[in-house]
Subunit: 475 residues, 2 copies
């Protein structure tokens, strides 16, 4: 579990940097997550990105004219030094409360753009959170979202799907805040609250348990964001990363790097039963092939590490059902306990489809814990981020697990202020700018994914020129 007090202390430590030294100096010397791999290829990669900023931002502007960004998202990244890649893109981000206070004004500004895009005429927004009403950390996230959305100038209320909430209920939160949850009601083809008919409904519920009937077949004048097919009832990680392949390909051509430097290889198996050893042939052979492909890449770049893959549910979240595998034999030899752990994810769902993803070791550490950056986006803007830190996990393990804590990026590490002229590897502003770029690439992949998966689109044929990523023009 997140230790809220610990996280707050750490955030404070980051903020306690004095003001006597120019802040750009401080960043490169104080409290900077350590990245020992910051040499050789990673510096060359950083240089290419920084040299191409006008081309990169121009390319993004054109992409966002063709593809509509999701309302919001968060992207988990892993920085291996030789490789920097997104490993998970969340379209119903929790954890907004882990962003620094200083990130709020930009989040509000981005929220204004997102609201304008979704429904310029909006006055009222209904937020539908996850059902779990007892997780304080999650409720702090909801409170933070309410604050951001209210500050864009909308009247915001919360409609819950939780069955135990049968009447409006106020929940007190640490820090003197409180949240009012009200039971969601349906009236004909519209949803809302008894005295509140919203124009926009924002889901912060990833629909892991399936699409509730109350959300189906809504009046098209009520805008539901993100759309239902963004939920885990429909969405697949493998589809997202297939879209990311295209995005990474085009971007890598633009900045002239090997797409592999920003893209984890992956495969999928559609019919896995972890409780039945016989049904795992697909998994064993895919793991084997993927490890071979990574080994090949490691040879090319003279990387000495031992390759590994991550096996995880193709639909789902919350860091459950995730396993690190260095050898296909490990999959065949899983014991009963391990099998059971893999077989069930959030909301008790059975796992039958899995994605096998190239493992990207994380060489960043914060206070001796292995750390991975998480980037938050609203509309097409990076609005902040934090490090997920797990002191007891290895560089090749999932960090999204009990024992993790969060260290907000200090405000000064904004993701949109590259420090041109700084020596490669010396500037945190540049490192975070690049994290913002990779986060936006993942968001663009999500945009493609939602566009192509839209059941109401008439011409959503995958691969049609209408929906493809525009090729990068020569710099």
């Amino acid at each position: 579990m997140v230790t809220a007090a610990g996280a707050a202390d750490r955030a404070l430590a980051w903020n306690r940097i004095g003001y006597a030294v120019p802040w750009s100096k401080q960043l490169s010397t104080l409290s900077v997550p350590n990245l020992p791999g910051a040499a050789g290829p990673v510096l060359e990669f950083e240089r290419r990105i920084l040299d191409s900023i006008p081309e990169i931002e121009h390319w993004f502007r054109l992409q966002w004219q063709e593809h509509t960004p999701p309302f919001y998202g968060s992207v988990d990244l892993r920085n291996a030094g030789f490789k920097l890649a997104p490993i998970d893109t969340n379209l119903f981000p929790g954890g907004f409360n882990n962003l620094s206070e200083e990130a709020l004004p930009c989040a509000v500004q981005a929220g204004q753009v997102a609201v304008e895009r979704a429904c310029p005429d909006a006055r009222r927004l209904l937020l539908i959170p996850e059902r779990h009403t007892r997780n304080v950390h999650y409720l702090l996230n909801v409170a933070r979202l309410v604050r951001i959305l209210s500050s864009t100038g909308l009247e915001v209320r919360i409609g819950t799907l939780a069955e135990e909430i049968t009447a409006p209920a106020s929940i007190s939160l640490p820090g003197g805040q409180s949240l009012r949850l009200e039971p969601l009601v349906r009236n004909g083809r519209r949803i809302g609250l008894p005295d509140f008919d919203p124009c926009v409904i924002l889901l912060n519920n990833d629909l892991s348990a399936g699409i509730p009937d109350i959300l189906r077949g809504l009046d098209p004048t009520q805008t539901l964001l993100p759309p239902l097919h963004a939920g885990w009832a429909v969405r697949r990680k493998s589809t997202h990363f297939a879209c990311y392949n295209e995005v990474a390909e085009s971007f890598a051509r633009l900045v002239q790097v090997d797409p592999w430097m920003i893209n984890p290889l992956f495969a999928r198996c559609g019919e896995v039963d972890f409780r039945d050893t016989a049904s795992n042939d697909c998994l064993v052979s895919q793991v084997d092939q993927l490890l071979a492909a990574i080994r090949e890449k490691y040879r090319t770049y003279e990387i000495k590490q031992k390759p590994f893959v991550i096996v995880k549910a193709d639909a789902g979240t919350y860091g459950m059902g995730i396993m690190t595998v260095h050898d296909a034999a490990e999959v065949a030899a899983l014991n009963r306990k391990q099998r059971n752990k893999m077989a069930i994810v959030k909301e008790g769902l059975q796992v039958s489809e899995v994605i096998i993803q190239e493992g990207v070791p994380s060489y960043e550490t914060v206070e001796d814990g292995v750390a991975e950056p998480v980037v938050y986006l609203i509309d097409r803007y990076v609005v902040g981020g934090f490090y997920r830190v797990h002191p007891e996990r290895g560089i090749d393990e999932n960090l999204n697990a009990p024992g993790m804590h969060f260290v907000p990026l200090p405000f000064r590490c904004s993701c949109n202020l590259p420090e041109l002229g700084a020596a490669p590897g010396s500037s945190m502003l540049n490192r975070f700018y690049i994290y913002g770029v990779i986060g936006r690439l993942a968001l663009l992949a999500a945009a493609l994914e939602l566009e192509r998966g839209d059941p109401s689109a008439t011409a959503a044929a995958a691969g049609s020129s209408r929906t493809a990523i525009a090729p990068a023009l020569a710099g």
Copy 2:
């Protein structure tokens, strides 16, 4: 002159607020500009604004769909307690260097929106600054603008109109920065630098000296922002405030206040010669009538102060040619020195058109100096602000004069984070949110002004329903 070191020290003092107390608490107790008038009507006004935030933001969203915001702007405000009004709107703002570092990420984000609007295909932007190349404070403003615009992902270079710059010149600035100024060149109908053909040209030169030939008749695929008719060669303050009348009227209806609470009364005289006493009849009679109108308002609201007006050039800037008048007889009795001072403004231009504006006393003080807030906007977003403080001036005097200094709003006083639920008058966040609202009203007036003054518009008939401010609908 601005005392740069002093301003930096003060900014530091603001930033040095500790982190142990929740920051919203600190704001209401520490370093808060004093506003003794914060009672009675001003609290009622604050309450109305805060109660109407969803209506206000909705109204702005609709306005910005109809009217294109200028690329950037800054608005001088005066808070009299009983009245809060813009007194000057600058469409070529200097002073970006006076914003806090913490305001930068939001400025960059707003800049991205502005660039997208102006020219989504842009890669290169040429900045044309004022001619005066020796004013360090102004050059620091240019450097800050370059930083913001480069961070949006454009290649930015500076083309100067200064005749003494005949070859590229680097100028060193305090803090180790440097600026490269290059002579602007014209090639057919395009302008740029010898090896730099920009898609967007951003003027940071208010064209007080007239429109240079080099800027006339440009290729329409080169976007010049703000347009030439935004410069003082064409623009008139009285036209701006006539547009602001409409904006204030509509907004006041929305929040149900007397428009006078946010709008300074004004009049103009088109043919004044300060050196010829006989030609000042218009001025004397206008001053007299305006003072009478203010007196009437003061009676209605039981305001005990002595009314005054400000007489200033209808075209022009830089705080020159500005005079405080409490009685029309003062105008008739000006001595030769005072006349000469009024007769000439920036770039040696003669003043023949003047605006007579209701004086709004400033009851805010920072460290015992009379202070007025200045709000900065890029596209339709408030991106920061500062207090202009003048320790030697009275509450009824122009503060934009030698001896002033600048105190940046601390980052925490972002203008887009109203603190709902705070008691009226107790929250700096709320005071700055309201300043942001008034700043945006002035920006909207500028949008109307530029739209109607556009010489290339075919249907720019003033007052047509196309260009009018949409009426506020009932809450």
